[in-house]
Amino acid sequence: MEHNEIGKYTRSFGLSFAITSVISALLVILKESNEETILAWMKVATGHHWVTHGLFNIILFSALGWALSRPNNGQGVKISANVLVICIASAVILSDLLIAGFYA
């Protein structure tokens, strides 16, 4: 028998990926546009801005994924597979366009 309910971590971490991906792309623009402040701080934090950026992404992805699995009495955020897939695909395309567009 076919089911159409996806697991709560599939929903929460899928949504977390979409949000983190777009925030990461925006951080690229933000840090490269503010070399004396944000980029300089990110370099000081770990020794390299890219390492800080990666750590920020991993922490945000993990924290958001966990947080979004908590609502609705621990059942996690309610979202259909179709909407989740649209969020994931849109985030990938938007992030790619933001990053490539910035450096083009």
Partner: protein, 155 residues
Amino acid sequence: MENVLLLLHPATGGLATLAALWVFVDTLNAGEASLARIRNISIACAFLMWLTYFLGGYWYVNFYGADKALIKAGPWAFGHNFFMEVKEHVFLMLLLLATYLPIASSNNLHINKAARKVVLWTAGLIVPTSLAMEGSGAVISIAVKIALLLKGQGG
């Protein structure tokens, strides 16, 4: 040491891409017998992508400086200014997407059409993005080669 890292980085990246493609194809016809295999290959994809991240990241942070200076002084400066800049930042997103693949594959795919759709899209997005990373790496390598050739000719 750095040359070995430079070879291993695209090799593990290529294997991660193949793993994602495997997951995509296997999920198209997911059955009870293929469930464990899909989950294991999804984990392998994530593991290989993390390995690619550490290998490439260590090389980038510690050894890329000299190549970057060469590329920026050469005729293919876009090898760094566009391709490396885009690659290093899109890869951070790709790493999370590959990390998400085993999570999406943890559902009972053989009886869950919605879960299969999520896995197909996730694996399906990893493949072209990874190939774009491999292609960018090739452009960066050629940019270094051209810069070195010109430098050797006194150009």
